[in-house]
Amino acid sequence: MTKMTYREAVRAALRKALRSDPRVFLMGEDVGRYGGAFAVSHGLLAEFGPERIRDTPLSESTFVGAGIGAALGGMRPIVEIMTVNFSFLAMDQILNNAATLRHMSGGQLNVPLVVRMATGGGRQMAAQHSNSLEGWYAHIPGIQVLAPATVADAYGMLLGALREADPVFIFEHATLYPLEGEVDESAEPLEITRAAVRRSGGDVTLIAYGGSLGKALQAAERLAQAGIEAEVLDLRALRPLDIPAIVASVAKTHRAVVVDEAWRTGSLAAEISAQIMEKAFDDLDAPVARVCSAEVPMPYAKHLETAALPKVEEIVRAAQELVPRHG
C-alpha cells in the first residue's frame, strides 16, 4: 500500500496504463506542458512524450470526437475535459456518437473511450465552473458513469474503465484532489459498477457519491453521537446504478437520505428515490429524503455558495426527521 493524494492516484493510474498498453494516450486542454488544470498529469509529458500526452486546442467537440474516432481506429484514448461545464460543448459527440455507435451500427462498432473531467462546487468558482451535472450523463444509455470518492477508487476505477469495451465517463470532484489515502498499486483493476458500504448502521441509509461522500460520513459521525446509527452507501457508479445494493441497505434500515450535489429537480437523487419507491416500497418506514443543491446558478461569494451546496447539518437534520425520536 502506498500513501498518496487523490490527484496522485489518478496520475499513478494514468502512468500505469500508459506504461502497460501502447494503445493508451491522453489528450485534452493543457494536459501536457501545463501539467493539467488540476495538476493531475504533471510530469507525464516528460515521461511519455508529446505523441502520447497531447495538448489540444480549446475544441471540446472535436477532441472528444477525435477520441471516439481514435477508439474506433484501434487506440485506447483517455480524454480529459477540464470541467463538466466545458463538456457540454462536446455533447453532440458524446450523445450522438460515443453513446450511440455500437447500437446504431448493429453491434459492429464499439468505442473504448475513457473521458475524465472535474466536477462540483465548493471552491468559489461561480456559476460556470461549479456544477455537478454527472446526472445528465447518467441519463444516457450506452455510457458508463463513475464517480470515485476515495483515493483507492481514483486509482482503481480509471484502470477498470480502460478494460471496458465501451465509453466510460469518470467524474472527479475537484475538492477531492488533495485528499489523502492508500492505494495498492499491485492490485487487479477494481470492480467498478458495485456500490460500497463505507459505514455500517441499522437506522438510516445515507446514499452519496463523489464529493458528497465525505459529508455523508461526517453526518453519520454526528448522528452516532445522537444515538442514530447511519449506514453510508457510496454509489461509485452512477450508471449503471447498483440498485440491489441500495435496496439491500434500505431493507435493513427502512429509511434513506439521498445526498446529491446536483440540483434537486430531475436529479439522480430523484431517480434513486423513484427506484427505492418501485423496488423497496414495503421496506420503507418513512418517505425518502433528498439533500441537494439549491435551485440557483452557483454564486461566487463564500457564504452564498455554502448556502447553495448540501451541508453536513442538512444531512443530519434530514436523517433525524426520518428516525423516530425514541431511537
Binding site: S61, A71, M75, D92, L109
Partner: protein, 332 residues
C-alpha cells in the same frame, strides 16, 4: 486553389470508364428504387436521395484503398455503394430488417460496414468530421499507412466542428482527405444565404490546409482531383480539403416540398446530369454503344430488383434483442 483536372484529355481506359458509369448507374437506380419503396411505405423515416451527386461519390472513392477509412453523412447511400457494400444489405437496412447492414437499428441515415472500414452515416451535420480526425490520428499513432476520407456537405461548413476539425487535422498533420460535396443547399438554405464566403475551398488556407475545387458533375475530373488530394495526404503533407461542386436533383428528403428553388434552376442543372454527361462522353470516345449500355442497364436493374427481394425476405430483428447492442462485454 489549383486548376481542376479536365476530362477532355486523353481517352480513358475502357474497362475503368465503364466501371465508373456502372457505379453511377447502380447508385441512380438504387435511389430511384428507394424512392419507390418509400412511396410504397416499405421505407420509413428520413430518406435523403443522392440523385445528381453520383459523380462525386463514385469519382472520389476511386482514390481510396481497402486500408483507408471512410466517414460519410446521412446522404450516404452512394458512398456505401461506391465503397462496395452490397445493395441487398443497404435496402434491407432501409426496410428495417435484421439482415440490414446495421440490423435495422440505423435505417437510411446510418449505414455501417466495419469490415470495409465504412465508419458510417452521421446525421448530425458536421458530426463526422471529428470522428475522421480521430480515425486518422489512430492511423498515425499506429504507424499505419491508411488515410481517412471524410465526406460532408456545404451545410457542414457552417458548423463549428468543421473549423475545429480542419484546424486540428492541420495542426497534427493528420492524413484526412476532407471531401465537401457542395450541392449549394444546406437543406433549404442556399449557400449564399448562410455563408459570407461561398468559395468553400478558400476556407482551408486560414487553417493551413491545401485545397482545391473541382466540377462535381464530371466523374473523371473528380477522380483525378481526389487521387491528387489523396496522394498529397499519403505523402505526409497533412490533410487536404477538396470541394466537389455538385447539385442534388431531388428534394432534400422525401418530406421536402422543395419550395426554396426554382424548377428552372433544377432543369438547368439537369442538363449537367453526371450520368448523361459521362454516357455522352463515352460514346464520343467510342467506348460505349447502345448494346453495351442496354446490357449494363439490365444488369443493374436485376441487381436492384434482387436487393428488394432480399430486403422483403429478410426477418425482423427479434424484439428480445432490443437492448443487445447498447454495451458489450468487458475486454479480457
Amino acid at each position: 486553389m489549383s486548376a481542376a483536372p479536365s476530362s477532355d484529355g486523353p481517352t480513358p481506359d475502357r474497362e475503368h470508364a465503364l466501371f465508373l458509369l456502372r457505379e453511377m448507374l447502380r447508385i441512380r437506380r438504387f435511389e430511384e428504387k428507394a424512392a419507390e419503396m418509400y412511396s410504397l411505405q416499405k421505407i420509413h423515416g428520413f430518406l435523403h436521395l443522392y440523385i445528381g451527386e453520383e459523380a462525386t461519390g463514385v469519382g472520389a472513392m476511386q482514390a481510396f484503398t481497402p486500408e483507408d477509412a471512410i466517414v460519410a453523412t446521412y446522404r450516404e447511400h452512394g458512398h456505401a455503394i461506391a465503397r462496395g457494400m452490397p445493395a441487398t444489405v443497404l435496402m434491407a437496412e432501409m426496410f428495417g430488417k435484421a439482415t440490414g447492414c446495421s440490423h435495422g437499428h440505423g435505417g437510411s441515415m446510418h449505414f455501417f460496414d466495419k469490415a470495409r472500414r465504412f465508419y458510417g452515416g452521421y446525421a448530425i451535420v458536421g458530426g463526422g468530421l471529428p470522428i475522421a480526425v480521430g480515425l486518422a490520428l489512430a492511423e498515425k499513432l499506429q504507424k499505419h499507412s491508411g488515410v481517412t476520407a471524410c465526406y460532408f456537405g456545404d451545410g457542414a461548413v457552417a458548423e463549428g466542428e468543421f473549423h475545429e476539425a480542419l484546424n486540428l487535422a492541420a495542426l497534427w498533420k493528420l492524413p484526412v482527405v476532407f471531401l465537401c460535396e457542395n450541392n449549394l443547399y444546406a437543406m433549404g438554405t442556399a449557400l449564399a444565404r448562410h455563408q459570407a464566403q461561398t468559395d468553400i475551398s478558400a476556407k482551408a488556407a486560414p487553417y493551413g490546409l491545401a485545397s482545391s475545387a473541382v466540377d462535381g458533375m464530371d466523374v473523371l475530373a473528380v477522380e483525378a482531383a481526389a487521387k491528387q488530394a489523396a496522394a498529397f495526404v499519403r505523402a505526409g503533407n497533412g490533410p487536404y480539403l477538396l470541394e466537389l461542386r455538385t447539385y442534388r436533383f431531388r428534394a432534400h428528403s422525401m418530406a421536402d416540398p422543395d419550395l426554396y428553388r426554382t424548377k428552372e434552376e433544377i432543369e438547368e442543372w439537369k442538363k449537367r446530369d453526371p450520368l448523361a454527361l459521362f454516357d455522352a462522353r463515352l460514346r464520343a470516345w467510342g467506348l460505349l454503344e447502345d448494346a453495351e449500355r442496354a446490357r449494363l442497364e439490365a444488369e443493374v436493374t436485376a441487381e436492384i430488383e434482387e436487393a428488394v427481394r432480399f430486403a422483403e425476405a429478410g426477418p425482423w430483428e427479434p424484439v428480445e434483442n432490443l437492448l443487445a447492442d447498447v454495451r458489450g462485454p468487458v475486454k479480457s
